[in-house]
Symmetry: C2
Subunit: 280 residues, 2 copies
């Protein structure tokens, strides 16, 4: 009994209501990566609009099959899982660029859906194109934020040294200190549990020391490259809908019998961004 009730109480699920179909947007197969592992498929939605140049570069990398046969290189507890090629074994770039100006922030634009909370790291937080994001009106910039599941671009010390050949996904408490320091190119929307359980590397910063520790990546493809029958069609709940706001309010003000003290607040990276599989 304890187990069951606890289970329900901790759930972030909500009553099933008739949803307006327009509350959900189809995740564009042309902006969707399939990271194919021996364990299964991880699906990443790319923030093509926020990071157009990185999107193009990653597209060029995928087109040359750059990642096929590469590896999960690193799994650091409470931080990130990272993939790419081990030192000295990377294929030569074809049309992809070796350097790329960062796209970790941009001037504030229309289309920001605010979450009414003050934040340790940003004066305004919310959502851009369905991704968690923040704004600083004084600096007049906005950026995508390092929440669980967000995918970023590893780089050297030079700001323009990240080109997408090494990508990481956040698998721990949100490392918001990285905001506005790394270009975030997307978010895992399906199958993150295949990455988050990768055995932690025993090398420094969670890097794997030996080949045998590394998981080989079978391929990375755009969903749009695959025949429809081999795709997993996904939809995401739009943040600028009544339904989304309702869920936020329910998470803020808990009325479940289990909660004895309601948080009354929610932090950006605790907001669930619902994604559902479309069955036809």
């Amino acid at each position: 009994m304890r187990r069951l009730v606890w289970l329900l109480a901790f759930s972030l699920s909500f009553p099933i209501v008739a949803l307006d179909a327009s509350d959900w947007r189809a995740i564009d197969p042309a902006h969707t990566l399939y990271l194919e592992l021996p364990q299964g498929r991880v699906i990443i939605e790319l923030a093509a609009s926020f990071t157009p140049n990185h999107f193009q570069n990653i597209k060029a990398l995928v087109e040359q099959r750059y990642f096929d046969g590469s590896f999960i290189l690193r799994s650091q507890d409470n931080f990130v899982v990272q993939w790419g090629w081990p030192e000295g074994r990377a294929p030569k770039l074809k049309s992809a660029k070796a350097k790329l100006a960062p796209e970790w922030e941009r001037p504030i634009q229309k289309g920001f859906t605010a979450l009414d909370e003050s934040d340790v790291y940003a004066p305004r937080v919310g959502f851009i194109d369905g991704f968690p994001a923040a704004q600083d009106p004084k600096l007049a910039v906005e950026w995508l934020t390092h929440c669980y599941g967000m995918v970023g671009v590893g780089r050297d010390n030079e700001a323009d040294s990240g080109n997408g050949v090494e990508l990481y996904v956040v698998t721990g408490h949100a490392p918001r200190r990285l905001d506005r320091n790394v270009t975030i190119v997307g978010r895992v929307v399906h199958g993150i549990e295949l990455l988050s359980v990768m055995p932690r590397g025993t090398g420094e910063m969670g890097f794997y020391k030996t080949e045998s520790e590394r998981t080989k990546i079978k391929s990375i493809r755009f969903a749009s490259e695959l025949p429809a029958t081999q795709r997993i069609e996904l939809e995401a709940l739009k943040p600028d809908t009544v339904e989304f706001k309702k869920r936020i309010e329910k998470a803020r003000n808990r009325k479940d019998a289990w909660y004895k003290n309601s948080p009354n607040h929610i932090d950006l990276c605790s907001v669930v961004l619902p994604v559902r599989v479309v069955s036809r």
Copy 2:
């Protein structure tokens, strides 16, 4: 090169300086649990002072060897790993109590080390006895917070239904909504990477559906029950020291060559609480 620099840049390590030995406190073996798994040892420091009644109950459970042969029951992605007995298989309690008044908050006392940040969930955050904590001066209460690695007590809907027979550890983004709703009894101080990679359960809320999915717990013992030669002696950096404050300031105001934008802030659950193994 990219990998190396990135590696250094992301490190939260700091220059090696001569540390005042008194900056570190020995973690008391009488307050330390060894959770022995086939994969190795996980070490939990119990918040004996903050939750004295739960501490005594867990002590009674360990003394009757309640957990020996029990299981990891649940691994929910970006949330918790939980252990105890499957429904209907729990041994009878001997001296341990079945019900226990919650200890998820207490009146504000002396000994709170403040972290100078405003927080989404609490007006004041900081540390109590080396654990992350928060205070609300209006309510005149303080509590331990659900950061990564914190260990709490599962319960039913009734506030007094958590007695320590089911424990969980936070393995995802800090679920601070649980603060002041569950008694936090301690923190994993060693070996959390053995728990955080547990394959996610395919049942609802990450519960394992079948026996074969569950990892069996060999035993739970207090460190003080073992001969010194079989212990792992640990020390924790005290939060109320100059050294700790220095580290916080370095994490807030990044001067590394890698950082192009310093966060200037740090959230409570991003603060590293350093623990070191003492070699004699």
